[in-house]
């Protein structure tokens, strides 16, 4: 197999790797993993986890003969269910990361009952599928041997516990440390940043503070025949579970958390906008919608009502948190709230910049919603309209966009303390700039407002 077909997020584990053929995703299982794979499938654990929505299902497929001959390591090829949108922990809200952490521990606890153990605890192995966190790496299990400590203990603490504790006790924005540290937040850093009172919390004292101290104290020392009983392992997992469960964060006080209470829209304008979005989505019939600047996801749900899978992006952690909690309570399966700063979207990260995809690489969406967002990009962030048109045309095949004129009270506020250098920022200037990159199908003035809603198709 040409090496380039291998996807770059899965090269570390010698058990197998992901590759794509004709747009379909496959996972090769190497001979060295054959025994563990058989145990996962035959023990009943696979069925149990899939039924609980904690592991993505897969089917075994026949690998082409030529490929098998060329690839002596190959044992089997499986085709996992395709995840509609791959997201990363630095794009998740507090509760998303917390639920992903609890899912990881729950999977490990269940696996132990079948004499299997989770051999990694990477947050990148969890994806939101049908609204719930699920493990996507089928090769994460290995046979549990009595006496064996949890090999992924440190990884769990770095990927989940440390960022959650920092978000809960220091500042929710510290989730962004995960963007810098691809293998999770270093525990000595977490220990340094967390307030002293966290040492009174047994879980944080042991799993973060003492853990960080031990890393420093025993670095590079041989651990010999270190063993721990099964009860000790269960106790460890349960302690991590209790510690994670107790961490909390209340979504309030950020800039946008109560946006819909302070917006300048009348009810009639709001209803008209909803009707237009519904009609246009029905016309385009997208499989995937990206709502950019979605706040708590009101219009994402309007789009999602068509059955399309909708990714609901917002910059504000409190808005994303509320959006996720609502989706979780309502058991919404086709909505994925994520945190994203459009002016500095997620970059490509990791080895050779190819382990984690950038926001751009994950596009284009079938249709973008950019409602009440352009003035933030064009005026607050000074991006010229032609560059905005380029960006949107690259990220979406279709676009529903709202133009907010300078006379709008929100834009007036933005211009209150600064010089108006935005001579091109007019309806005509907007249509000229976007007309270069899009065919404008519809243009409607929203009732009882000065805002114009457009349906456009990328050229």
């Amino acid at each position: 197999m040409p090496k380039t077909d291998q996807l770059n997020a899965s090269f570390r584990d010698p058990s197998g790797f992901l590759f794509s053929r004709g747009g379909v995703l496959f996972r090769q299982i190497n001979r060295v993993y054959a025994e563990d794979y058989a145990r996962l499938m035959e023990s009943g654990l696979y069925d149990r986890l899939v039924k609980a929505g904690l592991l993505i299902p897969h089917v075994e497929v026949e690998a082409p003969r030529a490929e098998r001959n060329r690839n002596a390591e190959a044992f089997k090829v499986i085709q996992p269910e395709r995840v509609p949108f791959i997201s990363y922990p630095y794009e998740w809200s507090f509760s998303q990361l917390k639920d992903a952490a609890l899912a990881t521990l729950s999977i490990h606890k269940r696996a132990l009952k079948y004499n299997l153990a989770l051999k990694d605890a990477s947050a990148y192995n969890i994806q939101f599928v049908r609204g719930k966190p699920a493990l996507i790496d089928t090769l994460s299990f290995e046979k549990y041997k009595e006496g064996q400590p949890w090999i992924a203990y440190r990884q769990f603490c770095q990927h989940f516990l440390a960022p959650l504790a920092l978000m809960s006790y220091c500042d929710v924005r510290l989730s962004q440390l995960l963007r810098v540290y691809i293998d999770g937040v270093p525990l000595d850093l977490a220990s340094k940043l967390l307030p002293t009172r966290t040492r009174l919390n047994f879980g944080l004292l042991t799993h973060i503070h003492l853990h960080a101290g031990a890393e420093k104290r025993f670095a590079g020392e041989s651990v010999g025949q270190a063993k721990m009983s099964r009860n000790a392992l269960v106790g460890l997992i349960e302690s991590l579970e209790v510690t994670v469960r107790k961490l909390s964060w209340k979504p309030a006080g950020t800039r946008w958390w109560n946006y819909y209470e302070i917006t300048n829209y009348s009810d009639a304008a709001f209803e008209h906008k909803k009707r237009l979005v519904t009609e246009w989505i029905a016309r385009v019939q997208p499989n995937q919608v990206w709502d950019l600047g979605a706040n708590t996801g009101v219009f994402s749900r309007v789009a999602g009502a068509s059955g399309a899978f909708t990714v609901s992006f917002d910059i504000d952690s409190a808005a994303v948190e509320q959006n996720y909690l609502r989706a979780k309570n309502n058991k919404e399966q086709n909505l994925l709230p994520l945190q994203l700063d459009l002016t500095n979207p997620s970059p490509a990260l990791g080895w050779a910049n190819r382990e984690r995809e950038s926001f751009r690489e994950r596009g284009p969406a079938d249709i973008l919603l950019a409602l009440a967002v352009i003035h933030h990009l064009a005026i607050t962030n000074n991006v010229p309209l032609p560059q905005l048109a380029d960006f949107f045309a690259e990220m979406g095949k279709w676009l529903v966009i709202e133009f907010v004129p300078k006379s709008d009270s929100q834009v007036q506020k933005m211009l209150a303390a600064r010089e108006d250098i935005f001579t091109e920022y007019t309806r005509e200037g907007f249509e000229a700039a976007f007309g270069e990159r899009f065919k404008i199908h519809e243009s409607v003035l929203v009732n009882e407002s000065e805002r114009q809603l457009y349906l456009m198709e990328a050229k």
Partner: protein
Amino acid sequence: MHFSPLPYLDPGSGSFIIQIAIAALLGLGVALRASWGKIKGFFGKKTKPEDEDDDTADAQN
């Protein structure tokens, strides 16, 4: 120590040591709970099967 045939993840020496120390303590709790369950069982009190916990968790998730 190599428990896993493919230990591709470096568990870290310090992490291993602290894990074993903490877990030894926590394991006592788990063992006590199991014994307590047996004592209650002896006196005819029903204890909840462990699987039930997981399935309730599924419903809540």
